[in-house]
């Protein structure tokens, strides 16, 4: 029984995150992972998937629905308990902090579930990091655009070359101990306020 394949169901509307989690879980070995992006139609499929563990985003609006399905599914094993052992407060907190909710069927051994939960938690966190990096990258893109515009404004209003415009921005930034992007942003905003040409 302890060697039987562990059936894990991942429900996540975010496909990128779902695949990151799925990949991690497969690496732990001895598991079969099913990924669904919604709970619609799950009621019909739950007997065929027959999950030992269900992993779902803590903030998923589908959680109340999912818990109701577990109540109703009398024919199959019911993954009722959140986590293996509700007295294991530390790992419950770690999961919830990471934004993971997990349901586990009764009677499964802690040693078998722990790696699955740990992986899910690590992968959720990895996704969060990725998301934050993407946001920063997006921010940098906007900053670069803003600097381009500021250069354009300086080139037009002061008749500077592109290199001279950039040098002016950099010098101003250094003098004021601010980032070039901030100087560029104030310049673009000011030009906009004064009704000047903003597009560069």
């Amino acid at each position: 029984m302890a060697q039987a394949t562990l059936n894990i169901l991942v429900i996540d509307a975010n496909r990128i995150r779902a695949s990151i989690i799925e990949e991690g879980l497969r690496e732990t070995g001895g598991v079969r992972v099913t990924v669904l992006d919604d709970v619609n139609g799950l009621m019909r499929r739950i007997a065929e998937i027959d999950p030992d563990v269900v992993v779902i985003d803590l903030e998923s609006p589908n959680r109340d629905t999912l818990e109701h399905m577990f109540q109703l599914s009398r024919a199959v094993k019911r993954p009722v308990a959140m986590f293996v052992d509700s007295t294991d407060q530390r790992s419950i907190e770690a999961a919830i902090d990471a934004g993971v909710a997990a349901y586990v069927v009764d009677g499964l051994k802690k040693e078998r579930i722990r790696p699955v939960l740990d992986t899910a938690i690590t992968r959720f966190k990895a996704f969060e990091r990725l998301r934050r990096e993407l946001e920063v990258a997006k921010g940098e893109l906007t900053e670069r655009k803003c600097i381009e515009r500021a250069k354009g404004i300086l080139m037009r209003t002061r008749g500077l070359s592109e290199e001279q415009a950039y040098a002016l921005l950099r010098k101003t930034a250094m003098n004021q101990s601010r980032r070039i992007a901030e100087i560029a942003e104030s310049l673009v905003t000011a030009a906009g306020l004064l009704g000047g040409e903003v597009d560069g």
């Binding site: 803590l58 998923s60 609006p61 629905t65 308990a81 419950i92």
Partner: protein, 392 residues
């Protein structure tokens, strides 16, 4: 040290979770309009979409208190929820704020079968029974009605109302779970035929032209119990004095919410995207259902959506026992003395009475069901035998 034990600007911080619903108003108003500060507290609000997440955040002490379904707090004490919290309920958050709303298509079907426009609970239940029978006869699928949670006042009120007319919930009518804020979208996209949910979601469906209010929880059970304030047991124990100040702040905020003169301001406050995120007019129309002229030109009377008046904040033991009797009726729990003792220890009207000096009127009788049946908390088996439709 939990976050709530830190203090900022001299005020103790209490973290409160809520679901976007009008009956969260006393918590929101206590937090935003100075009622908490007056008691030396600061209430930080955290909005969630699903009740399960509120429960889990309480369990790991991200939250100290939460807007909660009364039966959910009881289910926790019976070990029926996936993650046990350990809760007490020192106060209720208002009475009877739910509507049973159906899609326009279902409303049209009901009209064809001769249903009128009265919100009266017995005639509307009978109309739904005729529709259900008609659908069975013609081989059409059963109605799908959404509730917010299996352990909810909504579930038991809806099931009670259907059962009265001989409709078996879960068999003749399919019951599904949808979080409150997603109800209108589910109705509009025809994934469900109707729902039973707290305001403003019934009014929102009417405003969208997607729904028709069939009846309300006030019609099914005048001044019926509903949401409560769930408090982590350890948080309550840590400082009974602080809990008392919290209850006073929320009570005073609820009295402010009851005053129609404040409804415009209340509607604006609740309409904010981080609170309910619906137009102020929709919230105003929900609040107006208390009197005359709600969304379906309905008069629900003073029993609908009462925040504090007439003892609406008393978490009565009889309410807890009635909820439990319905868990037994619908096969969610088995009847035993230990369970009754457990649920009785959750509802703590004594804490409210000790902390709050209420206006008069707290003795208003609370058990008035539309079918005339009265609830006997001392004889649950005898009470349940009076209902032909039940699972236990």
């Amino acid at each position: 040290m939990t976050p709530s034990e830190r203090s900022t600007a001299g005020n103790e911080v209490i973290r409160a979770g809520f679901i976007p619903l009008v009956d969260a108003a006393p918590l929101v108003v206590a937090s935003r309009l100075g009622f908490a500060e007056a008691e030396g507290l600061r209430i930080e609000l955290l909005r969630e979409t699903s009740w399960a997440t509120l429960r889990d955040r309480l369990a790991v002490r991200h939250l100290d208190i939460a807007h909660m379904l009364g039966p959910m707090a009881l289910a926790d004490s019976l070990g029926l929820t996936p993650l046990p919290v350990g809760l007490i309920v020192p106060m209720a958050l208002g009475t009877a704020g739910n509507t049973v709303t159906v899609s326009r298509a279902v409303r049209a079907e009901l009209a064809e079968l001769g249903a009128g426009t009265s919100l009266d609970a017995s005639s509307t239940a009978e109309a739904v029974a005729r529709l259900t029978a008609d659908r069975q006869r013609t081989g059409k699928p059963p109605l799908t009605i959404a509730i917010v949670h299996p352990y909810s006042a909504h579930h038991y009120q809806l099931a009670y109302w259907l059962g009265f007319a001989g409709v078996r919930p879960g068999i003749d009518v399919e019951l599904v779970i949808v979080p409150p804020s997603l109800m209108t979208a589910a109705l509009e996209s025809a994934r469900i035929d109707g729902f039973c949910v707290g305001e403003p979601w019934g009014s929102a469906a009417v405003a969208l032209g997607a729904g028709h209010v069939l009846t309300t929880s006030a019609h099914i059970w005048h001044r019926s119990p509903d949401k409560v304030l769930g408090v982590r047991h350890a948080f309550a124990e840590a400082s009974p004095e602080r809990l008392g100040r919290l209850l006073r702040a929320i009570y005073k905020a609820a009295c402010w919410c009851d005053d129609a003169a404040n409804h415009q301001q209340l509607a604006r406050l609740l309409s904010a995207s981080e609170i309910i995120g619906q137009p102020a007019e929709v919230i105003t129309s929900a609040l107006a259902m208390r009197g005359a002229g709600g969304p379906a030109a309905t008069t629900c009377g003073d029993g609908f959506l009462s925040f504090a008046a007439d003892g609406a904040m008393l978490a009565r033991e009889s309410h807890a026992v009635w909820f439990y009797s319905q868990m037994v009726r619908w096969g969610q729990a088995t009847l035993d003395a230990k369970a009754i003792a457990a649920i009785k220890s959750v509802y703590r009207p004594d804490l409210f009475s000790a902390a709050v000096e209420t206006k008069s009127g707290d003795t208003a009788s609370d058990v008035a069901f539309f079918d005339g049946t009265s609830f006997d908390a001392t004889d649950i088996p005898g009470y349940l035998r009076r209902f032909a439709i039940r699972e236990a």
